[in-house]
């Protein structure tokens, strides 16, 4: 292991332990790590935007003769008027463009790409053609979807039939949330395992090279 590698491992270990230290108590080392973290993450965007947007997407194609790109370039630059109290309204133009295009795609893709297919695959046969198990599953899905939709229906009081359906809905919702919680525990633990793998193997391993 070279001394550079050793240094790198110790730097990672220092910041890892600094952030974990908050679990015990708030402390200055944690605070230091927290502030460096905020700065680095912000700085990362500068390099990324400079390279992937300004150079490759804007500057190079413009030199190659695509002069129309002046328009989005100016619009992008106008975003910064946001910081001047007098001219901040100008940035709305750029923002409106971003919001407009995104909304246009969203309006269509949400209804077309999500609502239609999800409705379609809910319309399953409740018959016994595919066996009792499949029938039971189809019933669970159909009732679950409908009762969930009803639970999130606000135009009527949840009384009578609507009330009963909404009540079934909340039970379904709790089953799903429970499943979600169980699943998520796995995810979070995995990430901790990742850090412990580093600390146990790389960092503790490096001790033998020093001492």
């Amino acid at each position: 292991m070279s001394s550079v590698e050793l240094l790198q491992i110790w730097i990672i270990a220092f910041f890892t332990l600094a952030l974990f230290s908050f679990l015990y108590k708030d402390n200055p080392v944690y605070k230091l790590a927290e502030h460096i973290f905020a700065g680095l993450s912000a700085g990362y965007y500068v390099g990324l935007v400079w390279d992937t947007v300004i150079i490759t997407q804007l500057w190079d194609p413009m030199l190659a003769g695509d002069y129309w790109l002046v328009v989005p370039g100016i619009m992008g630059a106008l975003m910064f008027t946001r910081f001047s109290p007098r001219f901040s309204w100008v940035s709305r133009v750029s923002l409106a463009f971003v919001m407009g295009v995104t909304s246009g795609i969203f309006l269509v893709s949400q209804l077309h790409g999500l609502v239609l297919p999800q409705m379609q695959s809910t319309m399953q046969s409740l018959g016994t053609d595919n066996g009792i198990g499949a029938m039971f599953l189809a019933i669970v899905v159909v009732i679950g979807v409908i009762s969930t939709l009803i639970y999130f229906y606000y135009s009527k009081e949840h009384k009578g039939v609507l009330g009963v359906t909404a009540r079934i809905g909340i039970w379904f919702i709790m089953v799903s949330f429970g499943a979600h919680f169980g699943y998520t525990v796995m995810g979070r633990v995995s990430l901790l395992i990742g850090r412990v793998q580093f600390l146990a193997e790389d960092w503790l391993g490096s001790f033998s090279h020093i001492f």
Binding site: Y44, Y45, S109, G113, P117, V185, S190, L192, Q197
Partner: protein, 278 residues
């Protein structure tokens, strides 16, 4: 009563300490348990197997470095799988923070194992702002959205990209995501361009995507580290995800034990209260 009260009001730092120990112990005393394969993983494996050899596919790195432990094993396994099948791989990312560099590092680590060459067998397109625009735009022309690859080489100079114009030339998309970008791959690319795709996602995201699998919008699903471990087993390439399963097991059991203990305490102290105040 006081015993249960103490148990219930225990300082949370003791809990943290126990979790820490539960993660460390399996690394010292490793134990192995058989890993069963869930149908969603099997479906994903079969679907990737069914992709024609030597066709062009996309492997998407839509995750932040923070979830590397869960997501990276999936991308690694996917790359093994596609390279083994001699597929041409295009990688890209919709994650500004770290996405493109992870794609670069991982792919360049795996490719030499299969004698794959950059530009001919695989290409890293990198990152562009605005996933909605990127996903829609590539439907017409990939080059218009990504004029260059991640390191600034013009797309026209990469032999692999000669035959690839838009989604029509992509046989399969392997999305690995730790966030909602997977939804947009479904609602835009799958719905409008009909490219078959599957998804590897964190355990947090997985429950939502069962619905997409059943609707046929995803042909398979890997849920969290367990899903990754199953895929590694199917590929006969056990790696990090399989290794992590021991620690995973112990922490799960610890948390379950704590939930049970907490509830016993809750009921016990409630009964005691009833006794005290009739």
């Amino acid at each position: 009563m006081s015993f249960w009260k103490t148990i219930e009001d225990i300082d949370r730092r003791w809990v943290y300490l126990m979790v820490g120990l539960a993660v460390i112990i399996p690394f010292i005393f490793p134990t192995e348990f058989p890993i069963s394969i869930t149908p969603e993983t099997q479906m994903l494996y079969d679907a990737v197997e069914a992709v024609p050899d030597s066709s062009t596919v996309m492997v998407v790195f839509d995750y932040y470095p923070s979830t590397i432990a869960e997501c990276q094993p999936m991308s690694v396994a996917a790359l093994h799988h596609f390279f083994r099948k001699d597929c041409k791989v295009i990688t890209l990312s919709n994650i500004p923070l770290g996405g493109p560099s992870m794609a670069e590092t991982v792919t360049r680590r795996i490719a030499p194992l299969y004698d794959k060459e950059y530009g001919v067998d695989f290409v890293n397109l990198g990152y562009k702002y605005g996933y909605v625009a990127v996903l829609s735009g590539m439907g017409t022309s990939i080059e218009s959205i990504f004029p260059t690859d991640n390191s600034g080489t013009p797309i026209s100079k990469l032999p692999l990209m000669d035959s690839v114009r838009n989604y029509d030339q992509i046989a399969f998309i392997f999305e690995v995501a730790d966030n909602a970008t997977a939804d947009y791959w479904v609602s835009i690319v799958n719905a409008q361009y009909g490219v078959p795709m599957c998804c590897g996602t964190t355990a947090v995201g997985a429950p939502k995507y069962y619905s997409f699998v059943q609707a046929g919008q995803f042909v398979g699903l890997l849920g969290g580290m367990k899903g990754a471990a199953e895929y590694e087993i199917l590929l006969s390439k056990p790696a990090n995800a399989v290794l992590g399963m021991g620690a995973q097991s112990l922490v799960h059991l610890l948390i379950i034990a704590m939930v049970i203990l907490g509830n016993v305490g809750f009921f016990a102290s409630r009964r005691n209260k009833r006794k005290v105040t009739p």
